[in-house]
Symmetry: C2
Subunit: 498 residues, 2 copies
């Protein structure tokens, strides 16, 4: 899985002679990219191109089923993590992990990891939920590879402190969602084939209500929703579910203050169009192919044969690069990490492999109170059980949902790492163009603590858009310091510094 180029090499010379080999090659690459969030989203997006537009879900919806609330007595204490294996010294904050049942009948239980703020009094800091995308990828990836307090070392056994951990400013809650992802599961395995946007939002909401029963001190606390990628669906949907349920008497009031989504997947057609434009303007494909796509693709929900052929040609032309960070190297061998190749950041391209190995160690799972039911599959960054093809419902466009959020007065931030070609910055810019919001404060550079341009920011009426310079799909992985600057600004309700 780590070495797409070496896998490919023996095939390369045959490519021009043998169309069958090309097809085979595509399969190999798809499987390769399945491993991570960016690859998963690509697979999802491509599968959507094959669907009839009018069969897709474009209506607005909210959760209307009654919410299951279970007894949570004593569970918080049981979830307390004494120490993570290989942890560097004693933590200056409390950590918890465990399961929250969201459906008693089917025994559906979602796994969470909660890291309290590293502050003298965590109650002074907001509560923040983080959701990785996919669909089907684990937020433990976010915790161990992006913004959590610890990252896994090359030995796959010990941890290092993350200097730019988000729990320096907030209480961070990581949820593996939906059931079938990571350590989350259902006893009724048919549930895995009946998942989609609606049930994911409903289960995440049920999780929250129950988790707040387990951690009642956070009831009514300032609450923020953050995440990235397919979180562009999860987050507005969960946010709107919270807002509509908040209106019902006798439900748990969740004090939602804001949402922030990174490199959001917001709109099927806009994203596909933006990717091809991004390839062209970043000199990854020829002008001829870009023109062919423009001439043959309407990006209006249907994709003709000519359009698909042109898009396929674009994919061939760009070669074998990591689209989640177009300037990054691949991980060539995670068990024998070479000296890093030139990359946009100093991020180790093999880091996700160390994480996977660590989270599959028995002592780690014991410390996390995870995998208590002996799951059949190992933990992986993106689920092999929840597949994009079996994702039952997904809204074609999240723009109405974003509009609804804005109307509700919730602080809404979109941010984009600018070297991601999976949900490129152009995609969010095109979406903002469609929303047509009034500009309150025009485009300008913002500066990170290190004095460098961290990216750019523009304030619309009701929405803030910011870029993160030199960051890929998983922004905090590639630009940790800039990401933390931006996150702090978001929590403080201020534009990032100029």
């Amino acid at each position: 899985m780590q070495n797409p180029r070496h896998r490919r090499s023996p095939l390369v010379s045959k490519i021009r002679r043998d169309a069958f080999v090309i097809h085979l090659l595509c399969l190999v690459l798809t499987q390769t990219s399945l491993a991570d969030e960016a690859g998963r989203l690509q697979e999802f997006s491509r599968s959507r191109m094959e669907m009839r537009h009018d069969s897709l879900d474009s209506e607005m919806w909210s959760m209307d089923q009654p919410v299951y609330v279970g007894l949570q007595d004593g569970l918080k204490k049981a979830d307390k993590i004494s120490e993570l294996p290989g942890q560097p010294g004693k933590a200056t904050f409390d950590q918890y992990a465990g399961y929250v049942t969201v459906d008693e009948t089917s025994g559906k239980a979602l796994f969470y990891y909660f890291v309290e703020a590293a502050a003298e009094d965590p109650s002074t800091k907001p509560l923040v939920l983080w959701l990785n995308g996919g669909p089907g990828c684990s937020s433990l990836g976010g915790a161990m590879h992006e913004i959590g307090p610890f990252f896994v070392n090359r030995d796959n056994k010990t941890l290092s402190k993350n200097k730019y951990a988000w729990n320096s400013v907030a209480n961070m809650l990581f949820l593996e969602s939906p059931a079938g992802v990571g350590f989350s599961y259902s006893n009724r395995t048919s549930d895995y084939n009946n998942t989609g946007d609606r049930s994911t939002a409903a289960d995440a909401y049920t999780f929250l209500v129950n988790w707040l029963e387990r951690f009642p001190e956070y009831k009514g606390h300032s609450f923020f929703l953050t995440g990235e990628s397919y979180g562009g669906h999860y987050i507005p949907q969960l946010a709107n579910t919270i807002l509509s349920n908040n209106k019902i008497i006798n439900t748990t009031m969740i004090n939602l203050q804001g949402v922030a989504i990174g490199n959001a997947y917001l709109d099927d057609d806009t994203n596909t169009r933006a990717i091809i434009d991004y390839y062209w303007t970043h000199a990854m494909i020829s002008k001829e192919t870009h023109t062919a796509v423009q001439e043959n693709c309407g990006f209006n929900g249907t994709y003709t044969g000519l359009c698909r052929t042109a898009i396929e040609e674009a994919n061939n032309e760009k070669g074998l690069i990591d689209e989640s960070n177009i300037y990054a190297p691949f991980c060539w061998n995670a068990s024998d990490p070479q000296k890093q190749h030139a990359s946009v950041t100093n991020n180790d391209p093999c880091a996700s492999y160390y994480m996977r190995s660590y989270l599959n160690r028995q002592e780690v799972q014991r410390a996390l109170h995870a995998n208590t039911t002996r799951l059949k599959q190992p933990w992986s960054d993106c689920s092999n059980i929840i597949s994009p093809e079996n994702w039952k419902d997904a809204q074609v466009s999240m723009l109405p949902s974003i509009q609804q959020l804005i109307s509700s007065g919730v602080s809404t931030w979109l941010y984009s790492g600018d070297i991601d070609a999976v949900c490129p910055v152009t995609s969010t810019l095109y979406s903002l163009d469609i929303l047509g919001l009034k500009i309150n404060s025009s485009w300008r550079a913002w500066y990170s603590d290190d004095g460098e341009v961290g990216g750019y920011v523009v304030e619309y009426k009701g929405l803030i858009f910011a870029t993160v310079r030199g960051a890929g799909h998983m922004v905090p992985t590639y630009q940790p310091q800039r990401a933390l600057s931006l996150f702090s600004a978001f929590l403080n309700g201020k534009l990032p510094p100029e």
Copy 2:
């Protein structure tokens, strides 16, 4: 000079209140960027916008004056470098440096540094001239910061081996051109104010003829011209001068095989247009400002007030970034190098400061046989004597010259680091569009020795264009391995590997 952001900080809060301060700020920034090749070219390009188009030089020309040839007896031996101060061990190749007089009357002398190929028999390797741009920047910058055998360490005193030095495959000749640049000089200082494209090409040609008298073993040897930036002027002009002089009986025949120009400055208007498009597609400026530029600028040689205001707004919006590598950090303090900030490569942003300090050491100048006439100014990357405003003639467009080169059958390569906003990849692509050459072999990825996509390549009839992924304006500085792969392919007359 090293810390534009810190200089700027005290001013930042006043910016919106005080237009005068903005003007002052612009002056500071211009002076700051004067230090390097990319900044120099920006200054040149901006000064061109203020000129009347019809006063600019757009004709084809070639050198017609008789060539001065001096006696070179014994000078090769005198130029031999025994060892560079701080050199790591004994070199496995010979090095030479010294002056070649190009005008006896005025005592105009050009300084060169010659590094023989690190091969058992250097005579089996081609001779390659490297020219940095500017106008007014020194090719010793190329030697000590890009492709030479040694780079200067942080101590400003010792050298390290460059693993990807170009003399692993060629005999490399670095020329400081024209007089007034680096250690090159004229005894008639008024010469410094009477320089431009024509005299630069003529002097470089005279240099070559005389140098070949000093090193007669390289007469008739395979010869290649390489360089970057304003080398987009120097190289085609020198190449065409060589070709036309080769036709004259009794002149030195120079066996020119090919030219390769990186991030070439080829066409005033095209480059300016391409920069603004590059800013927009790389999310550095707002759509509104990009649209304002498109609507107000014709890019046809004249720049109206509205157009200039829109371009100025674009420059404000993008903030304080290193345009020669839009993802790189600045050098904050060269005398106390901090831990590097996140960058596209592992290049030390302060490296050019160590080089400057090293080349101004007396023992280094002695070893190089440089500065024998006690110049008034210290060595600097780009000359303070040769200023862009006093550059007397420069062709508006080099495209006819490129066309002429192609017609002559000389192997012509253009290559572009893709994260440079000074002569962006789009600029070269737009120029190629204007040339309208037939495509022989269509756009594809090429792979470097490390297995990564090194960039993209397309073969036109008579010209090869290649990109270098993740490289800025000075391609080999940012992506040394990829640059060497490409250079080897160029010398071998083959497309880079797929």
